[in-house]
């Protein structure tokens, strides 16, 4: 007996049954609508692109290390290298003034002479930092301006401070909710070699080791993109060869550049801007489903309210086939049935006698559309009460068990979607198609396909249309899509991820009514 005849038989059986239990004439007429059109399958066309390559977030953190040794000012036998602080501070102040406002750029300031001090820890408040630098360049507010310079040139103390600064910053970053990595750029500016006493020069090896110590922070790769040490050497007419060679080596060790400012040369701080990276998305998978047809015991039946219970079952069970939540308690008929084999606590699904689910109180939200009671934080079509309290899945993830089957699809097909448990490679009905494969082509997971007469699994024809820097575009035709005589809401799930640098997952869903045997989704439907 073919499926159509079976369907008709079922219909007539139900009609008799309905008459026996005293259904009204309206209800009998409604039963006639419950038919799957097996002869005419539908086609769904989906035009889509992966999400545009998007900028990956990183912080840029400057550490300006300024020399304030005595040689900046006039000495008995030598002119000062930067009496007014113009060479050290003006360029920096100009950079700060012109810099675009960007909350991901941080600034800090360390000065050093005989000892070293942190003048300002990391701040992304440009105005505040500008004030600090201005103050540093002329603490006593003199005219003409004059920094407070004096003492020796203790490189090691400076790097010690830089090390502590970065270390504390990383520790602080670890307490933040979001993992954002940082580029650290150390800009070390000095006018001479590291003398800490008359003829007492700090050893090159010690200084380079200090820089290697900074580079070693790069091992903490989630938090540190890179640590770079730039060096800048300013002097009057004659450059001290020792200083120049040392600073060159320091820059080399620090993966940075060495700058030399004879009278006039400047550092262009803008070159340190962290370039925006646009990481492409890769398609992971795509699923197409008709929300208004559902498998029940090897039969494809109509489900007008898309609550996972076929209409004809709902009539018998006492729930409303056109209302996904017949007793209006915020938990769908299908989920209540899954829990209790009853769509409602009350046999007539009256709202007054509905199960209140008191444990869901925290998930109540007001002013939701369509009179919804509970929020759906992860927008996976299963609300927070249903997920957190009843099904024990995650309210902050559309794929609670990370198996790339969206939670609501997994629920529809009766496979687990709680964290830590995935059934995608099992084949409970032993029809040589694992649950993943069955969900792809929308055949039942627990009813062998070869026992379903005339079964036409969905067929996918996925073609790549274009591929460029920003996105990959596809056209998907899905054939043999099931069709009911009533409404046909077609839902398309697009799943993608990034895997270069960031490992992030994305799901986009679009739902459309299919009229006749065809519906087309455009790229714009997935924004």
């Amino acid at each position: 007996m073919n499926l159509k005849a079976t369907g008709k038989l079922l219909l007539s059986t139900l009609t008799v049954f309905a008459a026996l239990v005293g259904c009204s004439k309206e209800q009998l007429q409604e039963l006639e609508r419950f038919a799957i059109i097996e002869e005419e399958k539908a086609t769904v066309r989906v035009n889509f692109c992966t999400i545009d390559a998007n900028a990956v977030k990183s912080n840029l953190k400057f550490i300006f290390v300024m020399d304030k040794s005595g040689s900046n000012q006039d000495l008995p036998d030598e002119l000062g290298t930067d009496k007014n602080g113009y060479r050290r501070y003006t360029q920096l102040l100009m950079f700060l003034k012109d810099a675009a406002s960007d909350p991901s750029v941080f600034y800090s300031l360390v000065n050093f002479s005989t000892n070293a001090n942190v003048v300002s820890g990391f701040t992304n408040d440009r105005a505040k930092f500008t004030t600090t630098v201005t103050k540093e360049s002329n603490p006593s507010n003199l005219n003409p301006p004059r920094p407070t310079d004096g003492g020796w040139t203790n490189y090691l103390a400076a790097f010690q401070q830089v090390n502590s600064l970065i270390s504390a910053d990383i520790t602080a970053a670890k307490t933040q909710p979001e993992v954002v990595s940082s580029y650290y750029v150390v800009v070390f500016i000095t006018d001479g070699a590291p003398y800490i006493g008359t003829n007492q020069l700090q050893a090159k090896t010690d200084i380079l080791n200090a820089i290697k110590g900074l580079k070693s922070f790069e091992a903490q790769r989630e938090w540190v993109e890179s640590v770079q040490v730039q060096t800048g050497f300013y002097y009057n007419d004659v450059a001290d060869a020792t200083a120049r060679d040392l600073l060159k080596d320091m820059a080399l060790t620090g993966s940075g550049e060495f700058y030399e400012f004879a009278a006039g040369q400047v550092i262009d701080f803008n070159q340190f801007a962290v370039p925006v990276r646009k990481v492409k998305h890769t398609l992971r998978d795509v699923f197409v489903a008709n929300m208004n047809t559902v498998w029940w015991n090897g039969q494809r039946l109509v489900d007008s309210d898309a609550d996972q219970l076929p209409d004809e079952n709902e009539v018998i069970l006492g729930s409303d086939p056109y209302d996904a939540d017949s007793d209006a308690n915020g938990v769908s008929d299908g989920i209540e049935y899954f829990l209790n084999t009853r769509p409602c606590k009350d046999s007539k699904c009256s709202a007054a006698l509905a199960e209140p689910y008191l444990n869901c109180a925290t998930y109540k939200r007001s002013n939701l559309p369509n009179g919804q009671k509970y929020g759906d934080q992860d927008k996976d079509f299963i609300n927070d009460c249903e997920e957190a309290v009843i099904l024990k899945s995650k309210i902050d993830s559309f794929d609670s068990n990370d198996d790339w089957i969206p939670d609501d699809l997994a629920f529809r097909f009766g496979i687990s979607f709680v964290q830590g448990r995935s059934e995608i490679f099992l084949d409970p009905d032993n029809d040589n198609l694992n649950t993943y494969g069955e969900i792809k082509v929308q055949t039942p997971v627990r009813y062998a396909n070869d026992r379903i007469f005339g079964l036409n699994p969905y067929e996918y024809d996925l073609q790549m249309v274009s591929s460029d820097l920003v996105k990959d575009c596809y056209q998907l035709d899905v054939l043999n899509v099931s069709r009911s005589t009533g409404e046909n809401r077609i839902r398309v799930y697009l799943l993608e991820n990034t895997s270069v640098i960031d490992d992030k997952r994305f799901m986009r869903v679009s739902e459309k009514s299919m009229a006749g045997g065809f519906v087309e989704f455009d790229r714009g439907d997935f924004q």
Binding site: S226, P275, V279, T282, L283, V286, L462, Q463, M464, V500
Partner: protein, 262 residues
Amino acid sequence: MEREELPPPQKVVTIKIEDYCPLPGVRFDDMWAIGMSGRVEKNKIWMDLDRDGLPNYRDSDPVLQTNLRYPDTNQDGYSDLLVYLGGFTADAQKALKICSDPTQDTDQDDLTDCEEDNLLHTDPKRWDSDGDGVSDGLEIRNGLHPKDPNDVLQDPDSDGLASILEVKLNTPPFETNSDAISALAYKYETEQVLNASKAVCFHFTVSNIPVLDVSNGNLVRLFFFERDRDGVSAVNSFSVVFPAAQADKTVLKYSYDSQEEQ
């Protein structure tokens, strides 16, 4: 979108590898031939001169400074393919962690250690970081995820071939195999024989390998997957190259031990 007519028949060769004899206690699992000079996408096969996984038509970008002649155009240890996937402009590439040895690839999975450490966060010492049977390098080339063991068993284009099989056949895992694509799939035959010392040996025939018009020759990587008594898997591999002028339907014979053409 209208399907184009089938393109003119592709010139192909057959590669035979003879006398692969696993050592005692070692079990043969599978043999793959991966064509590195071309890429099947959008229903046809495209040339990839520098064999970096980016077909030529996508491998010349002034902003990214990729070039179809070089797998890693600026030789910084980050290949053009990863530059493309990561969207690194020339400036952004300068900001990447400096690669002390741009060619070092400890696990020989076609991804440098720098790429694995700094961009992909896979294991630079493991040829197959997620243990799913497809090397990290091959996963990246094919749009698969090198840290997800499940993706190779799935079939996103729903053409009946799991992604791991599509890698072996050199067809795209995210495009349903049309007639045109199926016509480009590699074909495999395995023959099991006993050699003179009564040891089990295999002869492999891989046919339908396309001959592309690349000036540096068609490179095919051969992989032999084995497993020892403790279930630990290993891969042996060598490459063969044949010129663009190779005649249609030539049979190229190699001995596994000598890796040379016979």
